[in-house]
Symmetry: C3
Subunit: 373 residues, 3 copies
């Protein structure tokens, strides 16, 4: 049964091991709760859309058992509606692959090795020694450098670059403008200016990795930059040379990972985070968007750092105060001492505050080290 | 009269409904006040260039009435010199369009629809079902996906991508490396790792939109990502899936708008701002550069947030204090109580400070919610 | 002697004016200390790798005299090991250039001027009036606009854009996705919305400049955007129109330099820094990563600004306090006055604190100006 003919809601329930509730329906597409019509399937997983659920006209809704009674139309009950939705949406709307074959305008080296059923788009360039796995698609104008290897069933949009010798696993999804394996940023200062340090490593990317549009992952200086299995990177992310991103870690748009940093497994990193070089981030760490990470994070947890916007006059005053925050702290400490003395004077007793003294020593130690300590 | 022959200053004054003051001149080009020669026209709209005005050798200067006496050369008096300058500069130096026609190396599907007088550059790819409006130019190596629609009189530089089914209005200006309609960043967590959520929506872009180099706008998950009429986006901006940018809003370089966020009309957003997902920004809001927006902004106004740089030793001490700012606040509050008690003791009366108590409750409420509350 | 045959360690020592210590070895490649085998040369310049030095199996290690005794294998002693390493690595692993010639799929205007021994990759486009210097390589799919000039011995990866009339010096290294000379971001507000201000300047780039993947440098509005000799830019950097970057300045990934800003010579700018428009940065300034620069920096020094991440609950409380930091300051000042009064009461004397009064005036002045003052 094709999508055009529609699929029975009961079939979709089976696909996700869900329980069908209510009448049968024929489903042709997915939709949001508020825009769905009778041939659409929707999902409910976020309380913000509670009103949309009550008013939906979908042919079926994927949800958890506790919300069945709130839904006016047939349901598929599962434990994880969003995951089940992803599976069903994929089934109803599979990615469109090009027809197998090599476009006549593509430039493919006769020393490249192409697997079975590959698709090579118009104006793509595949250099000598490159290998493209079975069933993979290399989009129009993409560039696969000499000796690079792309695993099977990978899908590259137009305008993707994988530089020489880099390795990409199976089922990769790379969006337009992705650049894998440009030189890392390494220069040695000398009397005549900066001297380029040759970037001799590669980028090695595991299976099931997705990389967003215009994201760049630099090749290593000596060893490799490594993106482990199942990593998902959003658009305009920058991964510096010799960084390593652990399996299952997900990184939202415009995040910067500087060189030689080691991010653990299954981390969740929000957009526009900035992670300094030569540090470690523990497995399972969550960084909220706009996090500034200046030092190693040893313990998994949820971390954050931005100063949220304020009306500009208020911001000006607060930012000006921030620039003297340490001084302000010291004045406060002076007050604490003075009050202590006043109270003591009242009690005929003037003991120094031991907590305050310990803090003095700690602050002195901190001011010679990093702010992240 | 061509630009090479020059245009009378009086003609330019007419073009912008301005008043000519001083002698006639023949103008061939625009220039800044300090570098202008007798065949140049300049404008004055910023006090920082006051000295340049006094010393200019331009053939004419566009300015407001109040500055006529400060100008040693002929003038065109208007209400808005910068706007008038833009119009005159456009007249003297119109954008160079390619000759109409399809470059022989372009790959254009015979199922694509091309309007009259279109220009298709070398190695461009136009897929089946795509439509290009009358007079539009698609630069070298650009990619227009299946079913995408580009309005008339649009100008795309080389290396622009518009993915399948996306819609772009009239008079668009897209710079190199722009990626419209790559998949949004949506993954559902499951036992076997992240599962891709198909991104089934489009990007819909209104008329008169300009998009800067290497900027990315992702397609929607179900519904569309929408960029309304007259929006201007600078380079390396990222717009997440299902975001909406209201008409006339202008966004400077490297700003990040996360998914499902709704930015109002006529907003002015500085560079490197970061706007969280699933929030609203009111019409006419101004965000200064580097603003971190973590929650909805309901009232138009001018907002800001960065901590400006300080000498590094000072920054270290202040940043260390920031990490204990709440504790510092609490110590200050203790001081307030103690002083109150000392004063009361002097007055034989010890009432608690009601303001301080109310703040305690407010702070407790805040610490369980978002920082943007 | 080719690299495949290997090079005597003594030869490499001569190349860098170093002193050989220990037995001779034949070197074929560079490697890190921990992974090196007997035909590898490594370097030691960072205490973090002290243990690797003691255990290395390299054929030779480049280091300073003071560490010779810590090294179990032959050594090359120099003053600057990293710089010497860069030179040796370059010698052992020189950049691979394409064979001279024009790929048959390239589109080269017959009005373009190509120097001797140029390499033009597949699908590259060279427009009329463009000039490519002797021995330069223009990678696959790159675009050189009308009238642009590229100096000799420059190396452009695939997918590089240099727009019309822009100028690039000798020995440039540009990585994939670089966009030089897209329009600057200039719009004049008017009754009918934003009107584009034509961007009529160029980008002028000196000799020995390297530009990272997907970095964008906009053309000037009237005058030029200028990148001086020896500047190194990492990936995803944005340089706005009419900015100037002084000779020898190095800028790490994802940094933003807004329009008309003038950065001095030999500055070191960390990743993800943001530098506002229309300001100056003194020669030899160092900006640490994530610096927010909102105003001119007149004195060279090391500057920084990020708030490092904290556990999210702590961050929420501190960020909430920050939004009232000025109020907190004022409450502290009130405390200072009150204590003064209490102490004075004890001493039968109540003089106001003159320091506190001066600060009041300074704060009032600041709140009407910029936060960077």
């Amino acid at each position: 049964m094709t999508t055009q003919d529609g699929i029975a809601l009961s079939e979709l329930a089976k696909l996700v091991d869900g329980t069908l509730g209510g009448a049968q329906a024929t489903i042709r597409q997915v939709s949001s709760l508020d825009k769905a019509t009778g041939d659409c399937i929707s999902f409910y997983a976020d309380r913000r859309y509670r009103a949309d659920l009550s008013n939906t006209k979908a042919g079926g809704v994927i949800l958890t058992a506790e919300h069945v009674d709130d839904c006016p139309v047939p349901t598929i009950v599962v434990k994880d509606p969003y995951y089940a939705y992803a599976k069903i949406a994929d089934h109803l709307h599979p990615r469109q692959w090009a027809e197998p074959g090599i476009h006549p305008t593509a430039v493919v080296s006769d020393q490249a090795q192409l697997g079975r059923d590959v698709r090579i788009g118009a104006h793509a360039v595949i250099e000598a020694g490159a290998r493209i796995g079975d069933g993979s698609e290399i989009g129009a104008g993409s560039f696969i450098g000499a000796g690079a290897r792309i695993g099977p069933q990978s899908w590259f949009a137009n305008g993707v670059t994988v530089e020489r010798e880099c390795i990409v696993g199976a089922r990769a999804v790379f969006h337009p403008g992705v650049v894998i394996g440009a030189d890392g940023f390494g220069f040695a200062p000398g009397a005549e200016g900066w001297r380029k340090v040759p970037q001799l490593g590669r980028v090695r990317i595991g299976d099931d990795v997705e990389v967003g549009a215009n994201t760049t992952i630099d090749r290593g200086t000596q060893g490799d930059t490594v993106i482990d299995q199942g990593v998902k990177l959003d658009n305009l992310v920058h991964i510096g040379h010799n960084a390593r991103i652990g399996a299952g870690t997900i990184i939202a748009g415009c995040t910067v990972v500087a060189g030689s940093t080691n991010i653990g497994k299954n981390c969740t990193i929000g957009g526009a985070a900035v992670i300094a070089g030569h540090i470690d981030i523990a497995d399972n760490t969550t960084l909220m968007g706009m996090s500034a990470v200046t030092g190693t994070i040893r313990e998994a947890g949820v971390y954050s750092s931005p100063i949220p916007v304020q009306p500009v006059q208020q911001w000006r005053r607060n930012a000006a105060r921030f620039s003297k925050l340490d001084e302000m702290y010291k004045r406060m400490r002076t007050l604490e001492r003075e009050i202590q003395e006043l109270k003591s004077a009242g009690q005929n007793s003037a003991m120094p505050n031991p907590n305050t003294q310990a803090e003095d020593r700690a602050a002195a130690a901190r001011s010679t080290g990093g702010a992240s300590s």
